[in-house]
């Protein structure tokens, strides 16, 4: 459907050379979408290991009941910062890195529409990451009592009463928010204004469609989060009573504001991956994408529904019954467009001449495991059932199936799929397969026990637990360490591929379709300066 043909050869006489400063200044000053994409992806990979190290410390503490390694306060800080780092500093930047590298190549644009703003969006991330983690270091010097200890959700009144770390996290969120909005504006403008002549919206690659809806969601919801943490800040330091019943406010107001952002955030993390999946599935099934239009409408439907279901994150807080029923049914309605996407993914493979290179392994693994996330999500969406599962390890397992198997494994799919295009080298296929199988097996061994722990009543965010939970926690901890260590293979494979390896062809994959595969591998520093014409 979105197969594009060109009349202008992609790279004829376009090698103007690279005009950029050498060394570190190249990266500080760059306005090039490929450089910026590389920075985003490198930053994301780095923070993936930072966030991973934090949670391995948590899993080590949970190896057996009782307190072994750390104080409960530090445990609380680790889980909250783990989440913020993984969501805002690993998954979102990885998706933005994909967007930066791929959208201009896929739509035949010479660069992103606003190149300097693009650079600003990236360079806001390291300061934000520093703000998030600095309180850990300050505490070592006796300043403050460590990082944000409320979990990533900042719930009032705990966050109103918390220490220095809350203020740091509030400003980290502000800066991350500015970065996300700048990135979103840039992506929307690029898609609307920079497409190759002849590429109508209904010929737009699905990856770009997924990101377009993501960008709309970010623009609609990130400012609401900014507003919520601003109210938190003024409640903490300037005497307002937004979340204080004595002054007519309400702590539950914070939950509404937070999850008005927080629920769409799930789709912000997933939509870029959903956009990428059909490309990979089609390539390795050697068939066109099935149901292009259905998927576009599916993205739009999920985008709209995602902003009207937020209160299912706090069913147990005490809401009127009609509100509970509304939020339950609207939440369950999301499974309809999502089922359309699943159907299209599977139908794309149906009767295909399939081969299972690493990206395809990750893509098929994604479908199965993300399916489990969807089904367990339906269980949690049920108000009556949720009264039992709320705030248990069942929820933890559910959203790790959504965000690790759905999000991170989707990112890995994209990395293996596009790395040969970016570097001009093939990655090590054998290592890639090892990485996939180790990841899938250890991921399931980490989180399947957590479903059972949750069903049995183990609460989340508690460093100690009852004796009967010991065995499952031990399995989970061992598997988590295997999962974490397997990711070193991923990093090594990327490193090896960047350094060298068998030469990748322009098309890289036999079944690949789209403008990006008409460029050389790696593409020249400036590509599509003369836009291709799509028929």
């Amino acid at each position: 459907m979105s197969v594009a043909t060109t009349t202008v050869p992609g790279h004829a006489g376009e090698h103007h050379g690279e005009h950029h400063p050498a060394g570190i200044l190249r990266w500080l000053t760059t306005t090039n979408h490929k450089d910026i994409g590389t920075m985003y992806l490198t930053f994301a990979l780095t923070m993936f290991f930072v966030g991973g190290a934090m949670i391995l410390a948590v899993r080590a503490e949970l190896w057996q009941p009782g307190l072994q390694l750390m104080k409960p306060e530090f445990f609380n800080q680790l889980i909250g910062i783990h989440a913020l780092v993984m969501i805002f500093a690993a998954l979102m930047p990885a998706a933005t890195g994909f967007a930066n590298w791929q959208i201009p190549l896929m739509i035949g644009a010479p660069d992103m529409a606003l190149p300097r703003v693009n650079n600003w969006g990236f360079w806001l991330l390291p300061p934000a990451a520093i703000l998030l983690t600095l309180p850990f270091t300050l505490a070592l010097f006796g300043i403050g009592d460590g990082a944000l200890a409320t979990g990533w959700t900042f719930y009032a009144p705990l966050s109103v009463q918390g220490g220095l770390g809350v203020d740091f996290a509030i400003f980290a969120v502000h800066i991350l928010g500015v970065s996300s909005i700048l990135g979103s504006i840039n992506i929307i403008v690029t898609i609307f204004n920079m497409r190759a002549p002849g590429m109508t919206m209904m010929k737009l690659p699905l990856f770009a469609w997924g990101w377009l809806i993501t960008a709309f969601l970010l623009i609609a919801t990130i400012p609401v989060l900014a507003g919520a943490v601003t109210m938190l800040l003024t409640d903490r330091h300037f005497g307002t009573h937004f979340f204080d019943a004595a002054g007519g406010g309400d702590p539950i107001l914070f939950q509404h504001l937070f999850w008005f952002f927080g629920h769409p955030e799930v789709y912000i993390l997933l939509l870029p991956v959903w956009g990428l999946m059909p490309h990979v599935l089609a390539t390795f099934s050697r068939k066109p994408i099935y149901g292009y239009k259905a998927q576009v409408y599916g993205f739009i439907g999920i985008g709209v529904l995602s902003v009207i279901v937020w209160a299912h994150h706090f069913f147990t807080v005490g809401m009127p019954v009609p509100a509970l029923i509304y939020f339950m049914f609207s939440t369950m309605a999301i499974s309809l467009p999502l089922a359309v996407l699943f159907f299209c993914w599977i139908a794309t493979m149906w009767k295909g001449a399939m081969s299972f290179e690493t990206p395809m392994l990750f893509a098929t693994g994604f479908i199965v495991l993300f399916g489990i996330a969807g089904l367990t999500g339906l269980v949690l969406a049920d108000v009556a059932a949720d009264a039992q599962y709320h705030h248990s390890y069942f929820v933890v397992a559910h959203f790790h199936y959504a965000l690790f198997a759905g999000g991170i494994m989707g990112v890995m799919t994209g990395v293996y799929y596009w790395l040969p295009k970016w570097t001009g080298h093939m990655y090590d296929e054998k290592l890639g397969k090892w990485h996939f199988w180790l990841t899938v097996v250890s991921f399931n061994l980490t989180f399947i026990p957590q479903f059972f722990l949750g069903l049995a009543g183990m609460p989340r965010r508690i460093p100690d637990y009852a004796l009967q939970f010991t065995e499952f926690n031990m399995i989970s901890t061992v598997a988590a360490f295997i999962l974490g260590l397997s990711q070193l293979l991923f990093a090594y494979n990327i490193w090896k591929c960047v350094k060298g390896g068998p030469k990748a062809s322009d098309k890289v994959w036999e079944g690949a379709e789209g403008l990006e595969w008409q460029l050389p591998s790696p593409p020249p520093y400036h590509s599509w300066e003369t836009q291709p014409v799509v028929k």
């Binding site: 500080l28 400012p223 307002t240 007519g248």
Partner: protein, 290 residues
């Protein structure tokens, strides 16, 4: 709309700017400002000085970066294609601002229709009303809040409404002049807009002074005080930014910048000004009047 846009190949290469250090420095400035603010709020002595450093860096970048963009614009680097990017960009930036104000309007809606009435009817486990003296009627500072007099709508706020609406007219008048290349009318219209904006801000400052010293209406006056000051305060901040941007545009028109065909900066700022105007109308109705 987008279908026709992509139909024709562009006659020139898109302007991809040269490498620039400004974005990186700006990020550093924002980090410094945030760090200083955190230190100040938590009582560390260097806080205000760190903040000052951050503001200095940000101002340096604003002058440098905008100066560079204006230079590029005057040199003719931007044509229709780039112009369209800027327009789309501004539209979606304003959309994000709408969402930011929506959070505070949402909070106002919540405290007025949910939390305050609920607190008025709250019954304890023993069947007694928790706060018998508290009726839960708006305006309210909550069951334990301070005594205050709410801000009336028909004094200064009504005057301010007239001022902002007039400024919306004058900026449009200036735009018409720009389109017809009547430079005097353009300059006059812009100057009048800036003046009306500044007067608005003056009245707003007086209103705050009056509220603090005579009405007992402070930021700490419960749900009313919090929503009143955060909504009007962020609006006032946006009016300030808008007035500064209009002043810059006035400076540029006085130097002869902009043509009837190409004047994105003027329009972008005008859109922004209309946006703060609309927010004010919502404020006037929902915060002051009803």
């Amino acid at each position: 709309m987008t279908e026709s846009m992509a139909a024709q190949p562009h006659s020139h290469h898109y302007h991809v700017p040269q490498p620039s250090l400004y974005p990186f420095i700006l990020s550093g400035g924002m980090f410094t400002l945030a760090l200083g603010f955190i230190l100040k709020m938590n009582g560390f002595a260097p806080g205000p000085w760190v903040m000052l450093g951050g503001v200095g860096i940000i101002l340096y970048v604003l002058f440098g970066w905008f100066g560079k963009v204006i230079g590029e614009s005057q040199a003719g680097a931007y044509r229709d294609w780039e112009d369209k990017s800027f327009r789309y960009g501004m539209v979606w930036f304003i959309a994000s601002e709408v969402a930011f104000f929506a959070a505070f309007f949402g909070a106002l809606f919540y405290v007025r229709t949910i939390s305050v009435p609920e607190l008025g009817n709250m019954v304890s486990a023993h069947g007694t009303t928790l706060w018998p003296d508290f009726t839960g009627a708006w305006p309210s500072a909550g069951p334990k809040g301070a005594q205050f007099t709410p801000m009336g709508a028909w004094g200064i706020p009504a005057l301010n409404t007239a001022l902002l609406l007039s400024s919306g007219v004058t900026v449009t008048w200036a735009h018409w002049a720009l389109l017809k290349n009547k430079r005097t009318q353009l300059n006059l219209g812009l100057a009048a807009t800036v003046l009306l904006g500044a007067t608005f801000l003056g009245f707003q400052a007086y209103e705050y002074y009056h509220a603090y010293h005579e009405l007992g209406l402070t930021l700490g006056a419960g749900a009313y005080g919090a929503t009143f000051y955060m909504l009007t305060g962020f609006h006032g901040f946006h009016v300030t930014l808008g007035a500064i941007m209009l002043t810059v545009i006035l400076g540029r028109t006085l130097k002869g910048h902009f043509t009837p065909e190409r004047h994105f900066a003027f329009e972008g700022v005008a859109w922004y000004w209309h946006f703060v105007d609309v927010v004010w109308l919502l404020l006037f109705v929902l915060v002051y009047w009803l």
